[in-house]
Symmetry: C2
Subunit: 109 residues, 2 copies
DNA sequence: AATTATGTTCGTATTTTTGCGAACATAAAT
DNA sequence: ATTTATGTTCGCAAAAATACGAACATAATT
């Protein structure tokens, strides 16, 4: 009943944090929408989604907390864009995460 | 107040489903552990994690429901392995998802 | 000063997730 | 027929996620 690892690795936790942030279709849609342009306003994002603005705001907060996007106020609007640095980090982490099946012939039969 | 899209795309929902399944450090650890070998037993996975076996079983169920792993009974053990087909699908979906920032010079400044 | 446009925050309700121990199921071994 | 080893399922509790409308905040405009 002894567990070798009391904790998860920082790497696992970071990937999980990104994955969790991306674990909702609204947030996937937001990231896809943001990634294909320089930046846009809250209203543009809201128009892309079938949910109330309060809920959109919440999803944006989660993406921001995960470090995947940034927002800055441009009265009376709020401009959002991808957080490039962390987007690239996430991309790399997922690449590495998924790469094991290519490198090891023992993997996946 | 009119929303163009009443629904999310099937693609967004599929990526979100995979991402959600990967949105916990225990499940990331499980996938990393499984991916680097052909297969293993429940107990081996349990030994890698700092949580009770009932909880491990739950996480495995979520990964199985998302289609990322498979399990088969080998009394009195249960052998688990990556669901290669869906693992490859997930890999591709995430690759495409993250690729936008490379292809568009307008993206991420 | 009041109004308008744009988002955020608050309060609330519902659902889902996470976690555990106890009980159960299965098949092999005694 | 019991016992043993291995996992799953059940029942529960606590926490987090999802969603909405209403209220609020901000700054530009009238």
């Amino acid at each position: 009943m002894t567990h070798q690892n009391r904790d998860y690795t920082a790497n696992s936790e970071q990937i999980a944090r990104f994955a969790k942030a991306l674990g909702h279709p609204a947030r996937i849609t937001i990231m896809e929408f943001l990634a294909k342009q320089d930046s846009c306003f809250f209203g543009d994002i809201h128009d892309e989604l079938p949910i109330a603005k309060a809920t959109v705001s919440q999803h944006l907060k989660e993406l921001k907390d995960a470090g995947l996007i940034q927002g800055e106020i441009e009265p009376p609007k709020v401009r959002y864009c991808v957080n490039k640095e962390n987007w690239i980090l996430a991309k790399k982490l997922f690449e590495t995460f998924f790469s094991c099946c290519n490198n090891k012939k023992s993997c996946c039969k």
